[in-house]
Each structure stands twice: as C-alpha cells, then as structure tokens.
Symmetry: D4
Subunit: 176 residues, 8 copies
C-alpha cells in the first residue's frame, strides 16, 4: 500500500523528478507513480485524487510545468497534504510553473518546492518529514540522512583544506 503518491502531468517530467524515487527507495517508503494530466485527463486525475486516501496514501506529490494546475487540481479533490513541484520551462526559467503552483487561493493549500535541481529530492524529503511524525523509525532515518549529508559537506571541506583550492579545482567533480 503506497504511503506516497506521485503524479505528473506529462511523462516528459519524469526524468526531472527521478531523484524523488531514489529517495523513497533509500528510505523504504512504498510509493506509486502515475501520469495523469489536469487538462487532458481531468476525469482520471479527479478519480485518482479522490481515492488516494482510501488507497492508503498519506502524502501526494504533484509535478507540472507552465500553467501548472495539477497540484491545485489534485488538492481540490483531497484533504491530504499536496506537495507541488514546479518543472523548469523556457519562460523566465520556470517562473510560470512556480506562480501557477504557489499562488493558490485561500482554502486549498499546496506546499510548493523549489524549481530546479533540488525539486525532486526536496519533495521526497518533505514528504518523509511528514510521514516521520507518526513513524519513529523513519524519524531516526531522516535524522541520519541529515547527518550523512552534513558529513559529506564536511568531508569535502576537509579535502579542500588538505589539498588546497588549486588541487581541489583540478580534481573537481569527484566528490559530487
């Protein structure tokens, strides 16, 4: 039974939030992934959103670009927390996606994630921070993830201090 449900308006967005899937696998969170459009398959999107809760879903992640209505449309059919992921576009670097997701009217909230490289990862981690509220083991895993993350930054800095910035710049990339 999926705890998180991920919906995309177009399969062309899938690669852009693929890191999201990796995070959920790393944390052993069961999740479902569907392609369904707010505009091209509105009935299917509605049915999916309305039944999410009974499928066991606790958090929904909805990704879309341009006039990105999907997160808001999904939120209009469920009271589950909906996380919106704006996909980059050519117009203003994706400001259209951001504003279409962010500026929801009173009463139907959507929690918006950044546009760009950190979109998928942060959507997953935000969902996990919600799930962890009622799952102490997951909460520990999340703390550990944060700790490992900190240590990676520190390790990079240690290496930088050891080899100096000139050598670091030459080898640049291996720590990525």
């Amino acid at each position: 039974m999926p705890e998180v449900a991920i919906i995309m308006g177009s399969d062309s967005d899938m690669q852009k939030i693929a890191q999201c899937f990796e995070i959920f696998e790393e944390f052993n969170i069961p999740f479902e992934v569907v392609v369904s459009s707010a505009h091209r398959t509105p009935e299917e999107t509605k049915a999916w959103a309305k039944t999410a809760k009974e499928r066991g879903v606790k958090v929904i992640i909805a990704a879309a670009g341009g006039a990105a209505h999907l997160p808001g449309v999904v939120a209009s059919y469920t009271t589950l927390p909906v996380i919106g992921v704006p996909i980059e576009t050519a117009l203003l670097g994706g400001l259209d996606s951001v504003l279409s997701i962010l500026q929801m009217p009173s009463g139907i909230p959507v929690g918006t994630m950044p546009v760009g490289k950190s979109s998928g990862i942060n959507a997953a981690l935000f969902a996990i921070s919600i799930l962890a509220l009622s799952n102490p083991a997951l909460s520990v895993s999340l703390e550990n993830y944060r700790s490992v993350q900190s240590k990676k930054v520190m390790a990079r800095n240690e290496k930088l201090q050891k080899v100096g910035y000139k050598n670091y710049l030459k080898e640049f990339g291996e720590f990525k």
Copy 2:
C-alpha cells in the same frame, strides 16, 4: 438561452469584469453569470462546464486571479472556446494570474485577455467577434461599435485641436 457563459472563481472578481456585462447588454447577447471555484467547488465547476454546450452556450469567459486555474479547468471539460481573464493581484501586478492562464499545455487552448482595465471589455468583444461569425446582424453591430469607438477618439482629437492642449488638460476627463 445564454450564448455566452461567464464564470468567476470568486465574487470579489465581479466588479473587475463588470464592463463585460454592459457590453453584452449593449449588443443584446443573452448571457449567464456564475460564481464557481476551480478549487473550492470543483464538482460544480466541472458539471457546469460539461453542460455548457447543451445549455446553448457558445463561448465561455472565465475570470480568476493568482494561481488562476479556472479557465484551464473549464477548458479541460469542454471543447467550446474558452476566454481567460486574468485578475490583477499584488504580486508583480498580476503576472501570476497571467501566466497561470496563458501557459496552457498542448491540446487544451485558452485565449487569454489582458490584465487590467481592458480585461472585461475585450473579453466581451472577443466573444462577440466569435458569435458574429454566424450572425450577420451581430457582425454589423460589431463593425458599428468599432466605428463609434474610432469616432470617439477622433472627436477627442478634434476637441484637442480646437481648444489647444492647455485648455484640454484643464477640462480633462469630460470626454472619458
């Protein structure tokens, strides 16, 4: 039987497109006006959009602000032409409304109107230009409207030439 249907996400938008109603009355076009939200009353909005054609509606005008999903959501449920009217907001003067309506994905078109003072009037005139395609009398009325409009500008200019810019600036407003 209404030929045009006007939908607003919130009654607070009604005054902003009130000139729209006046135009339809001037042209004797029967129209309906409803308040229904893409997010707060999605079922009602969907039902309304799906039945518009059978109510005799030929053109839909949908006005919304912020994450302005209403025009796109309505368009997803009908093949009637949908005209989107972005309502001004405090963020960037309404660029959020504009982009949420304008940047529709392939397959579900919305014809977007300007944000600002000309929104309501132009939405009505655009709808009338569509209706006039199969209504020769309406087409003549529209040509006349344009002609009157031109003459008003010309009359203002004639007055300006007659009284000079100094006097015109003093009396400014009476031609409005």
Copy 3:
C-alpha cells in the same frame, strides 16, 4: 477558400508554429499562410487584414516576437477573431512577445496563446473550437481529438504501471 489565415511577421517564425499547419491538415481545414510584417510591410499587412473577411476567412492567427505588434495591428483592421501567438525571444524567455500581444487596449481584443512548445498547436485548436460552433462535423472531430489525446496519456500511464518507473525511464521517449 481559406477558413483560417495565418500571418507571420518573419519567415524565421514559421518553423516555430509549423505544428499549427499539421493540425489544420489533420482536421481538413483550408488555410492560407502569409509572411507580412506589421512594421516592414504595413500597407500589405493592412490590405491583407482588411480583405480577410471577403476572402472567406473566419479566424486569423498572427505570430510575432519581440515588440510583437502584428496581432494587434491586424486586429485593428478587422472584426474577425484574432489569435496572437508570441514567439520565444532571448529576453526573459519571450515575456516581451507575450506582453506586446496580451496587453491590448479596450476595444481591440486579441486572444493570446502560450509562448513555447504548445503555441502552434493550441492556436490551431482554439481556431477549430471557434469554427466548430457552426460546423457540427468539426465539433465531433474536435471531441474525438480530445478523446484520442486523453487516451494517449492514459496509455502512457498504463505502460508506466506495467513496466514500472525504472524501465519506463530507460525506454523514455518512445511514447513521445
């Protein structure tokens, strides 16, 4: 006799709205395509716009970029519905094109299409939604187009459910 007339300010914009032509061919809509500039050939543009109605044209699509005056200039010479197509530019991703087309003053409406990939397709579909009002067969074709479009999204989702997101990501592209 063309039912739709497409005008571009520059032949360099032609490839960007080429999908527009394909849609009209798919729907068997006769159309004309011209290159004529609002600024470089204003007399020709004017003559073309003024005679569109008598050539049998019902809907005009005008595409331009930058200080994109073409749709507005055409609209000033005809009461036919004018659909504006903003072409992408380097400045803000085409916001100059969008605003030059969108922000028309009271009295001369232009229905603006998105800037980007969906521009051409949506301009064609919007024109067809207008033509379909007085053409029941076309209305049926448009409903079918929508239905096929929905089924394509559903088919992608079915495939995704069958093969899983990992395999789907690997094969990515074949459904495009």
Copy 4:
C-alpha cells in the same frame, strides 16, 4: 503542549498572518507563537528550532519577508516539516520573499505558501492536513471545513442567480 509552532522574524509580520491563528483556534489546535529573527537573534532562533520537537511540536510555520531566511534557517535545525510564509514587500510585490523561501537547496526542504491574502489561512490548513494524518477527528473537521467552504461559494452563486448580477453588484460585500 503546542502541536504547531509559528515563528516570525518581526512582529510587524504578525498582522499579516493573523488569520492563521484564527484557523488553529477554530480547529482547536494548540499552538505557540514567537518572534525571533534569523539574523538578529540567530542563537535564540536556533535553540527554539532545535527544541521544537521535544516541546511536542509537529509542524513549524515560519513567516518572513525580503531576504526571508527564517524558514530555511529553522529547517536547517530540525527535521520537522517547515512551512514557509513569504510576506509581501515593495520589491516586485514580494518576489524577493518568495524566492528566498522557495529556492532551498537539496536536502533541506521547505513547503512554501502563497504570498498575499491566502498566506496565513493556507499555512494553517496545510499544517492541519499534516496533523490530520494521525488524528481521524481532525481529518473529519478538515473535510467539514472544506464542505462549508464549498457551500459558501455555492450560496453566493445561488444568491447571484436569484438577485441577478446588477443587484448583486450593488450589495456587493455582504457575503464576504
């Protein structure tokens, strides 16, 4: 014991999210409100964020404007879900606040709310949607809230249908 903790960088932001408090009172959610600045009282902010979990807090709402670092700084010290509320500013209507909160780097998620009138209400409702996951009674209350909200929109529409748009416009405001 507070379930939600609300932090503001400045007491001048309090009135702007005051509706947030009303929602929590309406839903009987215990909450705390503090003023603490990411920049002027960084130690206090840090201590507050690090101890939120042990105070029983489940969700944090952080409001700030301009270079709005508070939500991100709080998120860097806790794994609880952090909801960011951008406060309007004079620059681009608050786009500085939005981007400073939204564009968080990989690993430290913040769920961003709209800038403008719906900020406070939606932050509260989003927090409640999270709390409701482990509180069935709250979940029912939230469904009811949505239902009442829908009915208010429908009641406005019914009134509009009954009195007509002209009378509605005259009385405008009473339904607000």
Copy 5:
C-alpha cells in the same frame, strides 16, 4: 509649421507627458499634439504619420501604454526619427509598455525613453538635441539649459552645506 509632432494613443496619457509641452514652449519649438490610436483609429494614425514630413515635422514623439504599439506603428510609416514614450501601467510598473516599444525588429528603429517621471521631459530634450544639430541657436539654448540644470543641483548642495542635513530635511521641498 510644427517641428515636432506628439501623438498619444489616448487622451488619458496627456497629463503624463505634459512636461514635454512645457519644455518645447520654453525652447520656442513649434509643435503639434494629436490623439490618435494605433488600434482604434489606424487609418487616421497612418495618414498622420505618412504626412508628417510634408507638414514640416522633423521629429515624432509617440506615447502609449500596455501593448504600446503606437511608436512602432508610426515608425512603420515614416523615416523621421520616432521617440517612444512608455506610459506607466499597473502590470510590473509599466514593463509591458517598455518592452512593447523597445523591442522593435530590425529595420524600424524607435528610440525609447524612460518609463516614469522623466519620460516627458527627456523625450522633449532628446528631440531638441536632434533639432539642435541644424540650429546653432537652439544648440546654445540646450547647452544653457544643461548649465542651469547643473547650477540648480549645485545650489541645492550649497544650501545643504550651509544649513546642514537636519534643517534641509525639515524644509525639504522648497528647492523642488
């Protein structure tokens, strides 16, 4: 015989460039002022632009807001230098006006003035700098204007040095 011709799309823009008229009067430059719209009176605008040269006009100033096509449309009908004046709007403070005037395509130049308080004055002074090329007396007047302008700034500074910033702030405005 007017040396400068000023055209506005709407008489509502007249007050915004009124300082322009004062400058021309101060410099004794004969000028004409007309209201004519690119969109509402395109034929009149065209006729006016095409005959400007034979009326003795040397420089044209065209002011418009929103989808501000007037300067470009005028420029398409004349080879006289055209100065574009963007009028402030509610959208992005007038960025729509700026971009509609500024981003002209190759071949039809328009020299764009600032949006805001200095619009009218600078349009007039720019026109005068052009006229002064073949009018030595005017060139001297322009140099004098600049010199007086410098002295005003210097006088303000002298006063500031004399009375100190505290007193200056109190009396603030009298030098304006």
Copy 6:
C-alpha cells in the same frame, strides 16, 4: 570627419553590434569606433565625449551591458543625441542592461535601442534618420532602404505562396 561616433565599454561587445558598421558603410556615413569604458577609463571617456562635437560628430551610439552606464555617462558630457545599445547578459536576458540605459533621470536623455539581434542595425538606422533631416540625399537613401526591405519581405511571401509552406519549410534559410 566622422558624423557618427560609436563607443563600446568593452571590445567583447564589438561583434554584437558589428551590423551597425555595415549599415553605415552601406549608407556611406563616415564613422569612428572606439573602445572606452565608463568605469575603467572614465577620464578618456569623458574627454572623448566632450570633444565629440568639435570632431564633427553629430550622433553618438554607446553600447554596454550589465550596469550599462556608458550611454548615460557619455550623455552627461555632451548635448549631442546619444543612442544607447543594451548588450545581452545572462541575467534576465539583458534586462539589467536595458534598465541601466533606459531609466535615465530628467534632463539627460538617452534614446534606447532593443536588446538582441536588431540592436546594432536599428541603432545605425536611427542615427541615419537623424542625419537625414539635414541631408536630402541621405533621406532618399533611407526611403530606398525601407523600400528594399519591404520588397524582401514581399519576395519571401511570394515564394511562400508559390512553393507552399511545406516546401518553404524544407528550403528554409535561403532567403535569410
């Protein structure tokens, strides 16, 4: 003796306005080109601007990017007409360059050209439109240029009508 003087803040901008030179050669206008920075060589820039008039210069073209102060700084030292050319940048596609040149304060006008492909050509043509005021032969050449330009667009359209859009798209580019 140069009639036009072109100044660039950096030689890296030269290629971006190279078409400007071609236009002046085509019209046989003597011109000078210098590299001098508003910030890195302020004394040289000042000396150059102050002596432009005595070198016979009638119009100045100043190109710069980013905090593009060069046109304004040059204009502060001369009463000759100054044409500002904003160079594209990575930030917002060059909006920084545009605003730094455009938004000059009252008293020191700069006529701003578009940012992008038409920058150099239009700067040259605008300068020529100024020079043509006192040079009837040049005025004729400019009219001819416009006429040739119109004919090129018409020729493209004729070809398009002859070969059809499909073949035109295939051969696309040869008319460029």
Copy 7:
C-alpha cells in the same frame, strides 16, 4: 574630518536614507553629505570623488534611483570602498535601481545594499563594520549595537509570550 561621505543624486532621495545619518550620529562617526548628480553635475561629482581620500574619507555611500549610475561613477574615480544604495522606483519596485548599481563590470566593485526600508540603516552599519576594523572602540560599539538589537527582538517576544498574541495584536505598534 569626515570618515564617511554620503552622496545623493537628488535631494529627493535624502529622506529615504535619513536613518543613515542617525546611525552615524549614534556611533559618533563624522560624515559629510552632498547632493551631486552623476549626470547633471558630472564634473562636480568627479572632483568630489577624486578628492574624497585626501579629505580623510574612508568609505563612500552613494544613493540613486532608476538608471542609478552614481555609485558606479563614483567608484570609477576612487579606490575607496563604495557602498551603493538603490532608491525605490515605480518600475518593478526599484529593480531598475538595483540592477544599475549591482551589475558592475569586472574591476570596479560596488557593494550593494537592499532596496527598501533597511537601505539607509544597513549602508551605515556596513560602513561602520569597515571602519571598526581599525578602530577597536568602534568595534565594541558595533557589537553592543547588535546586542541591543537582539535584546529588542527578545523583549518583543517576551511581551508576546506574556500578553498573548491577541492582546499583542491590539496594542501592535508600541514596540516599533
């Protein structure tokens, strides 16, 4: 002998950075204030900037709006640290001022302050942080200022905790 020199392009900007003066008085830093324009009094501005060092000035604060060249122009004539203060405008809330000051080319740095309420205060405090590097007593004063500032925030929070948010909202303002 002034340690800090403040220059404004227009006396209309003085009130907007008046808090700057108060800070310097509070810290007993001698300062000079002048009005001199980059464009209207370029010679005076240049002379002032070139002699600042010999007048004992260590840090320069330059405030300007629109095409805000003053900070950059001053920086081109001195190697003293120059702090740029963007003044709010109607266009995009002052983004023109920000970008004109911020986007300086390589070699001539300007340290830019925020646009808005904190402009003047932060310019002063940034200057003081520079002066404090060679003035231990000033460094202590600056630490104290920070400490007082922190305590003010804490006092507001204490009051909030004591009276509760409802009473605090009623009395709102007295702590300002």
Copy 8:
C-alpha cells in the same frame, strides 16, 4: 593568518569564483577558503563565522546560489564586513540568488556583488579596498591595478584605431 575568508555553500560554486583567489594571490593577501553550508552544516558555519575575527580575518566573502542564505547567516554571527556573491541559477538568470542576498533586513548588512562574470573579481577587489584603508602599500597596489586595467582598455582602443574595426573583428580575442 588569513586576512580574508571565503566561504561557499557548495564546492560546485568554487569554479565560479575562482578568479577571486587569483586576485588575492596577485595582491599577496593571505586568505582561507572553506566549503560550509548555511543549511546542511549550520553548526559548522556558525562556529566558523563566530571565530573568524579571532583567526585574524578582516573581511568575509560568502558565495551561494538559489535561496542563498549563506552571506546573511554568516553576517548574523559576526560584525566583520560580509560580501555576498550571488551564484547564477537557471531561474531568471540568478535573480533568486541576488534577492536572497541583497534584501537583508535592518541591522545585519551584507554588501552584494554582481551576479555573473565579474562576481569573483569584484568581491576580491572590494575586499582589498577595505583592507587597503589600513595598509598604505596595498592601497598603492590597488591604484596600480586600476591603472594597469585602464591601460589595457586604452591599448585595445589603440590597436583598434591602428588596425581598423574590420581587422580587429577578425583577430578578435587575442586582447582578451
């Protein structure tokens, strides 16, 4: 003992400010470089910032992108002057980075550098202008640097005058 300390939120930003290091080496300024994140290693960042003064650091340079909190967070823990360096992003070309660094609240100043090519160089030169206040030899070096920089521009111009713009364009690049 380092006089300047450079901190980056991510080692992926290092290459973008590498020219910064070269400038400090050219001027023989001892400096330290660390990677530490405002969000991923907040404790380390805080400890580093709080101890900077006792390590002998006089000026801090902090580079970050997106929701670029690092400069502000560092500034909240020290009274040393903090120079913020916005790193380019895909959203609006880095306007998110700019605004997150620039728009600091009253009391905690950050001097912001340009986004783009001149970021690193100008950050270093601005730091040196501060250090030079108490280091006469450094002040001379900085004057020399400026002088060499001016001469490079002049040399390019001399070459341009000698070879002409056509040859210069051909060889373009060798002076870079």
